[in-house]
């Protein structure tokens, strides 16, 4: 059954959201607002707490304290509804390598409860829009990385989620493919989808409308890429990222 989302303005909205594992604070009082139609880059080194934060936002992990709403649903009490209203794609997870692209999409469509006719039409539409062409009939495990990623994107948006979480979606993908992939993300954003994306590549962070940088569980900087570079007087986001983290670490020492 489709439960309509309650009235809300932000795709993602958290206030002081935290998660502890024993005495370790993995996510430390994170307050975020992500708008519909926005591409929001969620940056941080390995171990900064990004994955824990995303797991809470996707309804996979209960927060320890603070509040949060995703698509208007409460992260404590409505995690099942959140799961149905979001799309999720990661470079590690997703496709079954021994199924063809089409079979993968059929599987996900059934899992989301899409009826046969609607599913067929939606798969045809995405095949055309993502230019999957004949690749849809090949085994997912045999596809070149760039095509596998597009197929994974198709699976993640099959049920027309209004919020899309992408965890390092383009690892190992070449520049031409990445530009195309980002072209698709821009189209989705413009149709009103909120896109929440993590990446380790700062040239890719440049493509985001807004960025946040996470360090030791907390958000240490937020803003538009162009403004952030101006504010910190750095030519590249990578310098900005590395300098910010090194100066934080120096303060601790």
């Amino acid at each position: 059954m489709i439960v309509p989302a309650p009235a809300h303005t932000h795709a993602v909205e958290t206030e002081q959201l935290s998660r502890l594992f024993g005495s370790f604070t993995a996510v430390d009082r994170v307050s975020l607002r992500v708008n519909y139609g926005e591409i929001f880059g969620f940056l941080g080194a390995n171990g900064a707490g990004k994955t824990t934060a995303i797991r809470m936002l996707c309804g996979l992990l209960m927060p320890s304290s603070g509040s949060g709403r995703v698509a208007g649903f409460d992260v404590y009490r409505q995690s099942e509804l959140i799961k149905r209203h979001i799309g999720y794609m990661s470079q590690k997870f997703s496709l079954y390598p021994d199924l063809t692209g089409r079979e993968n999409l059929d599987f996900y469509g059934a899992a989301y409860g899409l009826g046969n006719t609607a599913l067929r039409a939606r798969i045809d539409e995405l095949t055309e829009r993502l230019e999957l062409g004949q690749f849809i009939h090949q085994l997912a495990g045999k596809l070149p990385v760039g095509w596998r990623q597009r197929l994974a994107l198709a699976a993640a948006i099959l049920h027309r989620p209004r919020i899309l979480f992408l965890d390092e979606p383009t690892g190992g993908v070449d520049p031409v493919f990445r530009r195309k992939f980002w072209g698709l993300l821009y189209e989705l954003a413009e149709s009103g989808v909120a896109i929440f994306v993590t990446t380790h590549y700062m040239d890719e962070a440049e493509y985001c409308g807004r960025l946040s940088i996470m360090h030791r569980g907390g958000i240490i900087e937020q803003g538009r890429p162009f403004e952030l570079k101006k504010k910190h007087a750095t030519a590249s986001l990578e310098d900005l990222f590395v300098n910010l983290i090194l100066s934080r670490e120096a303060e601790r020492a």
Binding site: V173, D174, P175, R179, Y186, D203, Y207, C208, F226, V242
Partner: protein, 304 residues
Amino acid sequence: MAFLIAEDISKKYGENHALDRFCLSIDPAEIFALVGPDGAGKTTLIRILCRLLDPDSGRVTIDGVDTSREYDRVKPLLGYMPQQFSLYPDLSVEENMTFYAGLYGLTGEPYRAKRDRLYEFSNLGPFSGRRAGALSGGMKQKLALSCALIHDPRLLILDEPTTGVDPLSRRQLWEILLQLKSEGVTVLVSTPYMDEVARCDRAAFIFRGRKLSEDTPTALAASFVGRIFYIDCEPTTSLVERANTIPDISAIRFGAGLHLYLRQDDSLDRHLGELAAIGIDRQQITPIDADLEDRFIQLMETKA
């Protein structure tokens, strides 16, 4: 004399030319990048250079030694870090290093001295007892690099070493490569990421088994033909479309703004009226330099 020379390397898989008369020449203590899309032939070339794969034709020499004739003499000179993590996940950090050292006959005190030096490099010392499979992405790569360096190779070949590694770990990895260079080690690294190319002495763009261009990163970026401007605006699809209808201008969305591309001999002033007509004002426009990615895409589009 060049330390690594590849002459006219060709390799076919069925009818597909994975490599087509590919030539490469890398000087001692040079860091050289091999850049190209998925399937361009990077990994095939690297496997041939490391003698893991035989070419259909062509010749590879390392330090003047022909690898097909005297591989035993070349092997100690060569360190190779493959794309896939290929260490033993059930062995500890230290056990992996001991194992690789043993393959090269390095044991006892010389091994321990080398190990300690590599720990200084990698900061993996505190994790020596941890299972390799339980390391983070960046630490795994540093362990793989340590194992590739255990026998003091003079040529280090790395196949996409930083995929999935965070910016801080990547920077540390690059600091290690620069340190090796200062000690005279020659480095060949493949990568799909342009910001890494910028750290190398020279780079070659590879596409469909052929070399498109080769030069220093600065010269490669500067060889872009045209002029680029950043427009600080709300980059809607309809704005991109309207900008693209202006003769002699091509526009792409770039993050929170637009990039406009003009021909080399064109001037922005000539287009200010047309841009104003679609709501773009002079104040929103900043000229920017072409980067390596701009040039790479330009070259690929020319060849495609």
